[in-house]
Point group: C2
Chain length 169, copies 2
């Protein structure tokens, strides 16, 4: 039902009967997810972060993606990302913007409850730190949403950056 | 006050005393704006659209940008965009993601109540329509926010695409 149906901010997929057929393989992502993640990178100290992450159906055959982190506990805003996840036959494409001045275009395969996304292009504004590659995996584990992000940035090779297992908000 | 203060979703700038100094030249954008716009492009019929557009301060020294349009009157979701506007000395940088699979990195000068943004890079997912250049102007006109978007896409040269004058929501 392309463009029709009732847009949903945070309904469980089973409550979205009008979800376009092409979004069904991505329905495991739908909802708002919260929890604590851990981060590391060769250029910074290891860190943890509180996160709220949402995949929502805006009424078109895409998912809207938004993520915000805070320095725990209950601290200042830290990172954020916004963008869209687009279904393709057997896979998905992600376009995402970061407040750090980074835009990422990625794609990859979708299997049951799992999507893998590798950047095709990462572009940055003139004042942004250099990011050259991003890889993401999102996986549904029971009622939790797990993800891992690997990154090549500021002259470092591709390596682990972020991981979290989030619960429904 | 980098990273501090009270994040604001839609306050008038005069109500945001903790706004970081580098965001003050962009404060004229802050708020949620609504109205009807007109669109044209050589490859489509002229059209109008209902729009809600927000520039918000998320608590970091950037503005969060989000835009949604509907087919008037009160119709189906049409276009959308999400991203961030970053202040630079004398100007601003924009990173924005479109559900159509387009990511845009732009920059340009900020003068009193006006920002001009020209794309440095436009990247698209494998299944997206080709967009090669985007130019945007946002201008405060009294209590209204006017903007114009020019675009080069699907083989067409850079030309007028969208214009609207929006009122505070």
């Amino acid at each position: 039902m392309r463009g029709g149906g009732r847009p949903s901010a945070r309904l469980d997929p089973v409550e979205v009967p009008d979800l376009p057929a092409e979004l069904v393989p991505l329905a495991f992502l739908l909802g708002t997810w919260t929890g604590t993640g851990r981060g590391a990178y060769p250029t910074v100290d290891d860190f943890t972060y509180d996160e709220e992450l949402t995949f929502a159906w805006p009424g078109k055959p895409v998912l809207r993606y938004a993520q915000r982190t805070h320095v725990p506990p209950g601290g200042a805003p830290s990172h954020a990302e916004v963008g869209y996840l687009r279904p393709t036959p057997g896979g998905a494409e992600l376009v995402v913007a970061h407040p750090s001045g980074v835009a990422e275009v990625s794609d990859g395969p979708v299997t049951a409850g799992r999507v893998e996304l590798a950047s095709r292009t990462v572009v940055t504004t003139p004042t942004a730190k250099a990011v050259s590659e991003v890889r993401r995996v999102y996986e549904r584990r029971g009622d939790r949403l797990w993800y891992r992000v690997d990154m090549a940035a500021v002259g470092q090779p591709l390596g682990f950056h972020l991981e979290a297992e989030l619960r429904p908000a």
